[in-house]
């Protein structure tokens, strides 16, 4: 413990030195910006600014890139809450309840809770990172294809809790999403599936065009032509802060979101995006007032936003402790380290303590900076809503298009976003939820790959899922959950779901 404090002191001395502070600040600002802009997410931001870091020393470079990463998680909630447009794919869930809160005039409260939840999650998870990095990393390595398959199967269960209304309709949307995820090169056999000769579809339908189209563009299409522009109750200054009840309602979700996000972030290859989806479903399941979800439940904002930020810290665990990337963003950061002559690997912490501890300390500082940046901006952002919608929505379309294009420089992505926008509009009119589509599209290729990899590993034996301890226990707990749910469902009858479905019929979401 004393050693940790000593190291932390070393870290802070590095982190609080003016150049490192400056680069952390630049990273945070760029990250917030990148997060706010729809489409352009942290991966695009980091990739674009990677060359700019070549002239810097290793610590400055890594501090700036990390700032972009977790800064984007702060900024992503802003457009989600104010305009129902995800700033990046991970903010999709915040769109649902965050925007509903904004419609009720609680935009300021939503933004504040998102910022504070992000801060708490970010800080707490950095502490966990600091104390637990090496042992956690070793645990993370134990996750192979059978474990992923079991975990993702559990993730599919989550889909059942994501939306209210008809179970059949949500399932249908989930399956639609799963099918969309099948487009692209099949990793196991090399066949191009459903790509029709378009090379750009080789990697599948990207999550970013999908999310931006289904939520952002569809939103504009549905709202722009309305007789009366969207009625947003202009909040007064006092109403910008959350009420006491809202605070109370967000404490537990923030806590749960932090733990959940951190754990998901550690597991390599688990797509940190799903942290927010899982958190939303968890909160909905645990809430005493599940009918509020979709209508402005504070927990639906606090949980996912915290999970997002905790996942970014979790992602750093395998990266720093073992030199192993847990996702595409840590992979870019590892490359940045390599370019600067710091060899990432198990010896990084020992060989470059100033780097590791400076990085950790700067994350504390960065989170503080972001809180300071975001909270006062709440008032500023809410004022954006006052612009007349006739000007607002063309600007939104422009940002969506540029944001989607910026990710890969590909017009195909723009077309996908537009098509998904049209689809999202139609689905809303017909009364279907679109969030399960995004989750399905993310999970499908991962589940299929994990299954087939596991079978390749075991030469076709399905027993591999039960013989490996982690996979086996995950599957067992999943089966247990399903069983418990079935029992309680039968016991309570279709009561609360039918009540929900009836109340929702009156609204055309």
């Amino acid at each position: 413990m004393a050693e940790t404090l000593q190291n932390l002191a070393l870290g802070f001395s590095v982190a609080l030195s003016p150049p490192v502070l400056l680069y952390a600040f630049v990273g945070c600002v760029v990250g917030t910006l990148v997060g706010v802009l729809p489409g352009v997410g942290p991966l695009a931001g980091i990739s674009l600014l990677l060359p700019a870091t070549f002239g810097l020393n290793a610590t400055n470079a890594i501090v700036m890139l990390a700032g972009i990463y977790y800064g984007a998680m702060y900024g992503g909630s802003t457009t989600s809450i104010l305009m129902r447009i995800p700033g990046e794919a991970a903010s999709v869930m915040t769109c649902i309840d965050g925007y509903a809160m904004a419609r009720k005039g609680r935009a300021g409260a939503a933004l504040a809770i998102a910022a504070i939840g992000s801060f708490i999650a970010g800080t707490v998870s950095v502490v966990a990172l600091m104390l637990l990095a090496p042992p956690l990393a070793i645990l993370a390595l134990r996750f192979g294809p059978p474990e992923y398959f079991a975990l993702l199967l559990l993730g599919l269960l989550v889909l059942a809790y994501m939306s209210g209304g008809s179970m059949v309709k949500s399932l249908a949307m989930a399956v639609l999403g799963l099918l969309l995820g099948m487009v692209g090169i099949d990793q196991m056999s090399g066949y191009f599936r459903f790509a029709y000769g378009i090379v750009e579809l080789g990697d599948g339908i990207g999550v970013v065009p999908l999310a931006v189209g289904l939520f952002g563009i569809a939103e504009v299409l549905a709202t722009a032509g309305q007789e009366t522009p969207p009625e947003v109750l202009k909040p007064r200054l006092r109403e910008l802060l959350p009420s006491r009840r809202e605070w109370r309602d967000s404490v537990m979700p923030i806590g749960r979101g932090t733990v959940l996000g951190f754990v998901i972030g550690i597991i390599p290859g688990s797509a940190h995006i799903i942290a927010s989806f899982v958190s939303y479903a968890l909160e909905r399941r645990l809430s005493r007032r599940p009918e509020e979800f979709g209508r402005g439940a504070v927990a639906g904002v606090a949980g996912p936003e915290s999970a997002n930020n905790a996942a970014t810290s979790g992602a750093f665990v395998p990266m720093l402790a073992l030199g192993v990337p847990s996702g595409p963003i840590p992979a870019v950061m590892l490359a940045a380290l390599m370019v600067h002559g710091v060899a990432p690997g198990p010896l990084l912490i020992k060989q470059s303590p100033e780097l590791f501890w400076g990085f950790i300390a700067s994350m504390y500082v960065g989170n503080l900076m972001l809180l300071a940046l975001n909270l006062p901006m709440v008032g500023l952002f809410v004022n954006v809503l006052r612009a007349p919608y006739s000007f607002l929505y063309p600007a939104i379309i422009m940002f969506c298009v540029v944001g989607v294009y910026a990710v890969n420089g590909s017009v195909v992505d723009v077309w996908i976003a537009l098509l998904m926008g049209a689809l999202g509009y139609l689905l809303r009119k017909l009364g279907f939820e679109t969030a399960p589509i995004v989750l399905g599209a993310i999970l499908a290729p991962m589940i299929e790959l994990a299954l087939r990899q596991s079978l390749a590993m075991s030469d076709g034996q399905y027993g591999i899922f039960l013989s490996r301890p982690i996979a086996g226990s995950l599957l067992a707990s999943g089966a247990l959950l399903v069983l418990l749910n079935l029992l309680s469902w039968m016991a309570r009858g279709l009561d609360w779901r039918r009540r929900l479905a009836l109340t929702e019929k009156g609204e055309n979401l």
Partner: protein
Amino acid sequence: MTQLRVALAILSLGGVALGQSAAAQEPYPSRPITVVAPFPPGGVADLTARPVGAAMEKALRQPVGVVNKTGAAGAVGMQFVATSKPDGYTLLLALSSISIIPEADKLFGRPPAFTVDQFAPIALISADPTVLVVRAESPWKTAREFIEDARKRPGQISYSSSGIYGTLHMATELLSHAAGINLRHVPYPGAGPALTAVLGGHVDALASGPAVVLPHIKAGKLRALAGWGERRVAALPDVPTFKELGYPEAEFYIWAGLFAPRGTPEPVLQKLRDALRVAVNDPEFKSAMDKLQTPVAFKQGEEFQKFFEADARRLAEGVRKVGRIEQK
């Protein structure tokens, strides 16, 4: 009023066209050059492209920018350059997969995204031989033990790769055919996950570029058994090559080279070659490559042509031998 506008528009368009054709007469290079890296940032192609671009900028005295056009294991970027104007302003930094992708397309009976003869090779920049790594706790201490064991238990030893028909997969397949062994392949979506799989014990072996595994070898987590190169890897002097062990057909390099679209005028190509020759001797470039632990292996003209063709032939053979997995 509208007629005037239309006339003005036509005039300005004409002026632009004139301007563009006038530019074509100017000496090369007179505009910024774009080097397309067909892989995501942080990958081998990208990290090689940037120092190359920076060094060439000095030699050509024009900005040389690197653009990432990712997708389909590099096919998107490669197709983009194959179909762009052969005026020397759009170049491609390709990895050895340039020879693999069209073969794979042929195997599946699809119209190829591009073909190798749509490119004019300029020069080779680096060529890293892959090395076979296993976990330190594995029972195989030498490559011979590994191959012996693989012969005794066909299909039982597993290896990971960065993707089917990818560079790491093809390297291992070449070994399997050369040594007459049968290994179980578990594809992963990229070199990073493939490395994680070996470290976590989910597969037994991996053919990897040396740079990424060096820190793990030094830390005692991985053991390198043999290399696919003609010569031993400089950073791993104790690791024999498969050639030394008696399997000369197991030769594979993850190489990076600069290409231009076919039809680029010869004087332009020559200028680029000269610039590249100066660039690889640039001290900043050398130090950048050193940091990446990737030795420079400059080959150009005839030498590169021969290397490229031999490599392409080897890989095409390899892909055909692998065949379509489903038909096994």
